[in-house]
């Protein structure tokens, strides 16, 4: 249990998927203009990333390794993630039309979120067990959500700030992201 907590906290703060490993930068910059959509995106990614990691772990362990075809890892994982996102989209559309509308185009875009594939592959590379995989992917997903929500909050404030014209919009967002990344470096000695 303690080991799992260490993995989760390590994934959220120390090896934050966006700010330390630079995976999933596209939704990090794309969906961070509004706090509300950032929260929705964070929830969707958390859900998809956790489930996808578990299924890819099972696929790796019981299909790829057993048959000796580990070289098909990437394509098999992408297949899993793509179908899973489709499935989640259908479920959300049926069960919660409001969330479906709020997420909009970003829901199918999770398919191409490299954080999802990245975490799935990291889990295999570090040869985690099933429970460790669960902890690591949940931690990474929460880390992504945390970074996205923090960034969205800062960007909402930046909208009101007096920023030099040449830095308005994306430039100041990138500078902010860099400063956040440096700030997260401070967590290195935490564990």
């Amino acid at each position: 249990m303690q080991e799992m907590m260490i993995i989760i906290i390590g994934a959220i703060l120390i090896n934050n998927i966006v700010l330390s490993q630079f995976l999933g930068c596209c939704p990090f910059l794309g969906v961070s203009k509004k706090l509300s959509s950032a929260i929705g995106m964070g929830v969707a990614v958390t859900f998809v990333l956790t489930i996808a990691s578990l299924i890819t772990w099972l696929v790796q362990k019981f299909i790829l390794v057993n048959l000796g075809i580990e070289y098909l890892q990437t394509i098999a994982f992408i297949l899993v993630i793509a179908s899973l996102v489709q499935f989640v989209e259908m479920v959300i559309r049926k069960k919660s039309p409001d969330l479906y509308k709020a997420l909009g185009v970003y829901l199918p875009l999770i398919t191409t979120n490299c954080a999802v594939l990245g975490v799935a592959i990291i889990n295999i590379q570090k040869s985690y067990t099933f429970m460790q995989t669960l902890a690591n992917s949940l931690g990474n997903a929460l880390g992504f959500t945390l970074a996205l929500i923090l960034f969205a909050g800062i960007r909402e404030r930046l909208e009101e700030a007096d920023i030099p014209k040449s830095l308005q919009g994306m430039p100041i967002a990138l500078i902010t992201a860099a400063l956040m990344s440096i700030a997260f470096l401070g967590f290195t000695g935490l564990l």
Binding site: L72, I75, K94
Partner: protein, 294 residues
């Protein structure tokens, strides 16, 4: 090799079947008319109809809970098409409305209370003494309405008052709802005379705050042949108010107003409403609004 092909094929097939089953199980019945109506709506998501965006309005129309004439931006054409899709009568159009600025105090008319150097946004400026102008009721002039107009129909005039392009204005009310000073109002497009002032202070203070303020002299009230304009008092103060139902647009009050707070404007050409424009009373050329003819 054979394992690779087989395993991927099997994986693909399994996911395909799962998705296929899920599709059947989680299918959402969408009335095709919703999509059709969404397509013909202007798509500006201005909110003038009172529903969340054009999609929300389309759903409400199909559900039968919204009238066909609620889309102010779409005008007649959209209403006819919607009636066709829904198979019901198009009904009458709403009387077209436009946004009117109830303030004339540009930078040459209204003295400043302080120099404002903050964010270019009326809402922010309004938090400090209701804006930099001495008149705390007037237009702040930082153009929040310009930014919020979904049709790009407002631009900032040279005297730092917004100028509304009545060829574009659809009367959706986005600017009206966004104005922190509430100096924009939705008025029927056919109405020509407006009290271009929102200041409710007493005459002397109002005049000090702005050269073209309503000073509550009641000259308009006394001279109006229809009894359509009167100085109305409420908790905040008083100001001349036009009863648009009675106003004929004769313009006598405009000539009597000592501070020019009242204004008569040229008829607005609402393209699909020519008949109505013809019935608006135009004073003949050379009319000095003496009122003798009436």
């Amino acid at each position: 090799m054979i394992y690779a092909i087989l395993s991927l094929a099997v994986l693909g097939a399994v996911f395909g079947i799962v998705l296929g089953v899920a599709e059947k199980k989680f299918t959402v019945e969408v009335d095709p008319r919703v999509e059709e109506i969404t397509k013909i709506l202007p798509g500006a998501n201005c909110g003038g109809c009172g529903f969340p965006g054009c999609g929300g309005y389309a759903e409400a129309v199909v559900a039968g809970t919204a009238p066909l004439n609620a889309c102010t931006a779409g005008k007649d054409e959209v209403r006819q098409k919607m009636a066709q899709i829904m198979g019901i009568a198009a009904g009458a159009a709403q009387e077209p409305k436009v946004a009117q600025l109830m303030c004339k105090g540009g930078k040459d008319k209204a003295p400043l209370l302080y120099e404002y150097e903050g964010v270019e946004d009326c809402h922010v400026a309004a938090t400090m003494f209701k804006g930099p102008k001495a008149c705390s009721y007037g237009c702040i002039g930082l153009g929040s309405c310009v930014q919020v107009c979904p049709f790009g129909g407002i631009k900032m005039g040279s005297n730092q008052l917004p100028e509304i392009d009545y060829n574009i204005c659809s009367g959706c009310g986005a600017c009206v709802n966004n104005c922190p000073q509430h100096v924009l109002k939705l008025v029927e497009a056919s109405k020509l005379v407006h009290v271009r002032c929102s200041n409710k202070e007493k005459g002397k203070q109002a005049k000090e705050a702005c050269q073209v303020a309503c000073i509550k002299c009641k000259l308009c009230e006394k001279n109006c042949p229809e009894g359509a304009i009167s100085v109305v008092a409420d908790a905040e103060g008083s100001i001349a108010v036009i009863d648009y139902a009675k106003c004929t647009g004769c313009g006598i009050c405009v000539t009597k107003c000592p501070t020019n707070a009242l204004e008569i404007m040229l008829p607005i050409n609402v393209s699909n409403n020519e008949e109505q424009n013809l019935t608006v009373k135009h004073p003949p050329a050379g009319c000095n609004h003496c009122g003798l003819c009436q």
